[in-house]
Subunit: 540 residues, 2 copies
């Protein structure tokens, strides 16, 4: 596949050999960004020209125009698009794996797994909108005889909000990027999508972007249903979020970046929802019974979870709470052995490697932190190599140095030994919001620490018992979210079918004749969806 | 009933004759506000002392403490509280009507109707949480055999966000005030509530506040489940919204006030959702067939809707779009006669009266506005009397003077004659968000103007056909919301059972044993609620 190095705005903009119709691509701004092979440090061709403000405006206008058609499309037509996108991505085959591994340093198996997940995610949303009940259709029939005033006929359902801007994530070149969860859920809801590519994998973005564009085309949909722009988050990203025709945004990335975009979205003349998934340290609580019963097993599982994907997951366990006893000391030794035996990793980008090295260095030198295991990756390979690091401290020291609670993005974690229940409960009560909290315990532990669980429930989106937080299942019940600063909107999820709700609004029809109502609200339930009719859920 | 003039924070603070335990009430700040009888301008006793920052903090701390109990209460216990509140309010009887009519100038019948609506609203939410399916419980069972990795057991439901601050509305002393829709939906969700009283009806607020406090007490719940504070929105309101223990806010009022509080909520170190219902002009479109068929009937209905509650409803029709033909001219004459024959009103507050008079004056003097009917209320009565005003202009002039689209809160509306379809469609495409849009038409009109309806659907929360937007039915399907500036969060509703969703977040449990799960997620569905189990909705 010949990559063009261009933004995708409209069908014709990126056609091989065709003249650019994007107006300004390559002429204005003119900044060019290149993928980098993190294993070698080599610059990858082609260069990608940053979009300019005219292109931002053009993409937003095309999206708004497309919304008038796409926003009213029946569920099975939206499903057809999602399935076609999945098929097109699968059709990229080895070429996609080759480019994505080159750009990210992730192994081919991981890229293939993530591609499969991306496609199954698209198909999950296709199934959801084909089935159709997600619109929460409600009908309250009229009662003209009611006193003192007649009751009107009132019906309502969820409708798409309008054009959505999606920011690709550095650490998921596929599942949280061009055709990832945010795009799939926004398209499923009926929202055109404008994607801002991540500089870590511009070529992967273009390949997937073309797959989406071709699907939009072959489904006969307006070109503005999908665009893909290159450029910096602070310039092009902010311009997209501040564009008056954009109605929502989805983001996965750093706390600083997410907060800046959230602030831009909230301070617009017309504020819009902005769903940023930002940072999470995902504390793991090993309770006494579990430590006694499954010490080595937990150490093995934790080691796998901390090092999965080189520790570059937002659900990586970054703090481990355990008692200050002999069992816990043996656990730390065991985990230290496993970490010390772990081969070096290639991190995703030079920026991530620098941040990881800084995070590790600050702990290496920290007066209250003990080094359990630490491997320094050999210098001079020119790439983003990094070694694991396992640290330990106690709760009293941790309280004195709250900076130890910051996320270190990479294969490292911090063990904290506490002096008992009160210590643990205070830690939980005062901790920030996270995506997940994990508890290892026996049934007896669960009873003894019910109050800990009650606190954790108010602090995270997902509680994991006797498992590990990495590996987020894509299903109806999943919640990948959590109170600030885990996300900017702790009410919602970015994974699982409830993610579609983020891009919807409630719309009500009062007193309309049957023929003028959306199909979902007509008297005859031809779509066979679940509806709340006069207070009763029914498919009749 | 002896009113005390005090904030309600905790059980003992307002007990008759007892010493104040609020610490600072009456000592700090010391500003005292009085109700005013808008019919006479008389100051009403007692004076109400503004809360101080210590009291804000105390209320927030008590609410956060109460949340750990109240947030985990079973649905039937929350329902018992809501029903007890309704009973207590009904028990206030004539005394409540007397005080509320004195403070608002609204007729006794309106106060009685609003009291009934408030209580039925509380009971609607009681029924909702007793039934229990609103929590959107979802179960995806484990599949240990799945390849390449086992599928975990994942379950989730909606949980309350935490303490909620509710701002009373000037124009609904009961249904959108102390125990109004926001309070009912927040309490139903499991959130403690701190109410900021409105200065327009402090005595009504205290009576209802005591009714709520007594219900909290007699249900054996922690005192922090409910507090009521007096003070200005910009000081006490902002302090409440910025308090770190507060997790959401609900507001009905002006655009400036709502936006300022939304900005305060969004710019916190931890941003919180803030649901402000702010301003709406509620355009009414009279299509040609309807104008021919029901001209006088529409005029009569519109007159009733514009003058209902002295035009002080957020759903009052403030713009009426009609053709520039003989039928429309006759319609304007008819509506003008009805308006001219309307008795003067007493508006709610001196501030609302001033704003109304300014709004009317700006149209009276406007170069492109024709006065169809205008009554000047007699001066010198000392109160908030005001007369109706009906204005007319054409679309071309309206476009030149967009300020004519501003909300005039009171018994006035503006007729706009357009030159045809294109004019109408452009108006709809460029208009701001509103709570409602109303269309009068025949079946033929509906077919001819399907494109108008499609645009309006993206601009409002509720479309009304052949009716009027005032009179918001409290039911499952109602949407009282709409794109900015109608509200600060156009995804949601403040009326109807979906209002509960505003104060919830999604929480997920992975791999938990049955005994440790919330009842809603246990294997055995003892609550008999609807649940999404492995993708199928079931009550089994």
């Amino acid at each position: 596949m010949q990559l063009s190095g261009r933004s995708i705005i409209g069908f014709s903009a990126s056609q091989a050999g065709g003249a650019s119709q994007t107006g300004g691509a390559g002429s204005a701004g003119g900044r060019v960004l290149y993928g980098v092979n993190p294993a070698t440090g080599d610059k990858l061709q082609p260069g990608y020209e940053s979009a300019n403000l005219e292109e931002v405006d053009r993409a937003a206008r095309l999206a708004a125009e497309a919304f008038s058609v796409y926003g009213r499309l029946a569920g099975d037509h939206k499903a057809a698009l999602l399935r076609e996108i999945a098929r097109n991505i699968e059709g990229l085959g080895e070429a996609l794996t080759a480019r994505a591994t080159q750009e990210t340093g992730l192994p081919a198996g991981r890229i293939q797994g993530e591609t499969a997940r991306t496609c199954s995610q698209l198909r999950l949303f296709a199934g959801l909108v084909e089935e159709g009940s997600w619109v929460d259709a409600r009908i309250d029939h009229a009662d003209p005889e009611r006193k003192p005033i007649p009751k009107p006929d009132v019906r309502s359902l969820l409708r798409p909000v309008g054009p959505v801007v999606v920011f690709c994530a550095s650490n998921f070149p596929l599942a949280f990027s061009v055709a990832g969860g945010d795009t799939a859920s926004a398209l499923a809801a009926g929202c055109p999508v404008i994607v801002k590519a991540h500089h870590a994998h511009p070529g992967t973005a273009e390949m997937v972007g073309l797959a989406v564009r071709d699907a939009v085309h072959s489904c006969g949909l307006p070109e503005g249903v999908f665009s893909l722009l290159y450029g910096s988050g602070s310039e092009i990203g902010t311009a997209l979020i501040r564009h008056p025709l954009v109605k929502a945004g989805g983001f996965t990335g750093s706390r600083a970046g997410g907060r800046a975009l959230f602030d831009a979205a909230s301070s617009r003349p017309e504020p819009i929802p902005f769903y940023a998934e930002m940072s999470s340290v995902n504390p793991v609580f090993i309770l006494p019974g579990a430590m006694r019963a499954r010490r080595d097993q937990i150490a093995a599982g934790l080691h796998a979870s901390v090092t999965l994907g080189a520790g570059q997951f937002c659900t990586k366990p970054g703090l481990v709470l355990m008692a200050a006893d002999a069992e816990a000391r043996a656990f730390a030794v065991k985990l230290g052995e496993l970490m010390a035996g772990t081969a070096d990793f290639t991190l995703l980008t030079p920026g991530i490697r620098s941040a990881y090295h800084e995070g590790v260095a600050s702990r290496l030198e920290h007066p209250v932190v003990e080094i359990v295991a630490h491997k320094t990756a050999p210098e001079g390979q020119g790439g983003c190599q990094a070694g694991v690091a396992l640290f330990q401290t106690d709760m009293k020291s941790y309280r004195e140095y709250p900076e130890l609670g910051a996320e270190v993005f990479g294969p490292s974690t911090l063990l904290i030994s506490h002096s008992g229940r009160a210590d643990l409960l205070e830690f939980a009560s005062t901790m920030e919001g996270h995506l997940t909290a994990t508890v290892h315990g026996t049934d007896e532990d669960l009873r003894d620490y019910a109050d800990l669980l009650a606190i954790l429930e108010t602090k995270v989106g997902r509680l994991v018992f006797n498992g590990f937080p990495t590996g987020v299942e894509v299903c109806h019940a999943m919640v990948h979210g959590g109170p600030y600063p885990a996300t900017s909107d702790g009410r919602s999820t970015s994974v699982g079918t409830r993610a579609i709700l983020r891009f919807t609004r409630q719309v009500c029809y009062q007193g309309f004749p049957d023929a003028a109502l959306p199909d979902e609200l007509k008297n005859d339930n031809t779509l066979h969806i679940w509806r709340l009719v006069d207070g009763q859920w029914t498919r009749d």
